[in-house]
Symmetry: C2
Subunit: 232 residues, 2 copies
DNA sequence: TGGCGTCTTTGCGCTGGCGCAAAAAAGGGG
DNA sequence: CCCCTTTTTTGCGCCAGCGCAAAGACGCCA
């Protein structure tokens, strides 16, 4: 385990306030795993057995409905944890996780995490904190889906992505993630057609610029307005 | 603390597998609180300081959007816990909680719960389990809001309510909860008009029977069909 | 450089669901 | 039993967003 990796671990909320000894043990117990673009770490419905931590690349968490539609829950980038649910006995993964680009993770088998948890209450407190945050985010998303129109939801998702993976350009913010209209549709609960039309309109008005699978936000301010109010 | 109350506690997943001594201590630390119909236990945005447990009546958890719209998250009945988030330092309640009918709860101040948590790892494991369940339910709800049409969502909500508070009748299941069209709209992310029209249609077809603020499910089977497939 | 697969746009038609206003129905209290 | 409040229904108009099909643009790889 390299020092950089340790630092990455340390910077994650999940491992906050752990002393060096504890962190050492956490690192000891970790396994490393690399996947090619498009490969899956696990599938929705599998018995949940591992807690994951992204080192490199991106991981896409999506839920598939009975009739094959997808709902894209989240993109997880380096330094972030996913599938904490595997801490719990007898749980199943509620989503599938797919590598976006070549990606690498650390993971801990449940037994390891559980025993670390018993040794270090701090760890378990952190974990609860994370789950609580997650709950809060989902509640917000439910509220948005229930009360906001599509345009607003798309604006919000773009802003969130910009925050998470945004790269400042001289003239705007580039969302540094190959993201198709289809993906955006799955994140906002609409169709790729509507996303396409909406982005086109924004592009015409100079709010954004979009290439195939990429978006650059030119006027963040205007986007914020759309996200918050109803009209401009 | 009466024996019934202890039994109620004991039956809750949150207190599962606690030995009698632990349960005793949990009970010791609890406070009792009674509210009249419509009164609030706390408001969205308040610093989260108490974990609650419903003894009697019902509690309605709802989130209010900036522009005054409501999203109804959940009804909590006797024997269920809410606002676990108050375990965590510096959290705020993400919803408001309102008594529906005269209601009574037990509650524990954060310090009490935290210290119990440290003494009894079982408690903290249970708590995580609960949070995980919650997360799973929210994910489902997000998926439903994203991919299903209104009619199906209403059917699902009715079924859930029937499961949670359903009362078997000779000829159907009564949802034992005063629930207005407005409430159903807030639970399904639609409007009271659409709910009204949908229920009316179902009533005409004999699927349900509805009085003011009450619904009786006459043909659960047909409702399930609507909830699962697209058409009958 | 050309061909190919994927992603995106666009035209067209359609309808589910919204919003409002007003009437009707259902309770509840005095 | 009547009045007042709240909830529910209903008619009407409307449009955001969906779905499909087909064309177009892009990027990659050989």
């Amino acid at each position: 385990m390299t020092p950089q990796l340790l630092a990455l671990l340390k910077s994650n909320p999940l491992f906050q306030n752990l002393n060096d000894h504890a962190l050492e043990q956490v690192a000891q117990a970790a396994h490393r795993l690399r996947k090619q673009d498009g490969e899956f770490f696990f599938f929705q419905g599998d018995p949940a057995a591992r807690v994951h931590f992204v080192i490199q690349g991106k991981v896409k968490l999506a839920q598939t409905t009975g009739d094959g539609q997808q709902v894209l829950m989240e993109y997880i980038g380096p330094g972030r944890v996913f599938s904490i649910i595997a801490m719990l006995p007898k749980a199943r993964y509620p989503v599938s996780s797919q590598a976006v680009g070549e990606s690498e993770v650390l993971y801990w088998p449940r037994e390891a995490i559980v025993s670390l948890n018993e040794q270090y209450p701090t760890l378990s407190a952190n974990m609860m904190q994370l789950m609580a945050t997650q709950i809060g985010e989902f509640q917000n998303r439910i509220r948005e889906l229930s009360t906001q129109r599509v345009e607003r939801r798309i604006a919000r998702v773009l802003m969130r992505l910009a925050r998470q993976t945004g790269q400042r350009l001289p003239d705007g913010v580039l969302i540094d993630l190959a993201i198709s209209r289809q993906d955006l549709a799955e994140m906002t609960g609409t169709t790729l057609f509507t996303v396409s039309r909406t982005l086109k309109r924004w592009e015409t008005n100079g709010l954004i610029e979009s290439r195939r699978e990429h978006v650059i936000i030119r006027q963040p301010h205007s986007l914020v307005k759309i996200a918050e109010e109803s009209e401009d």
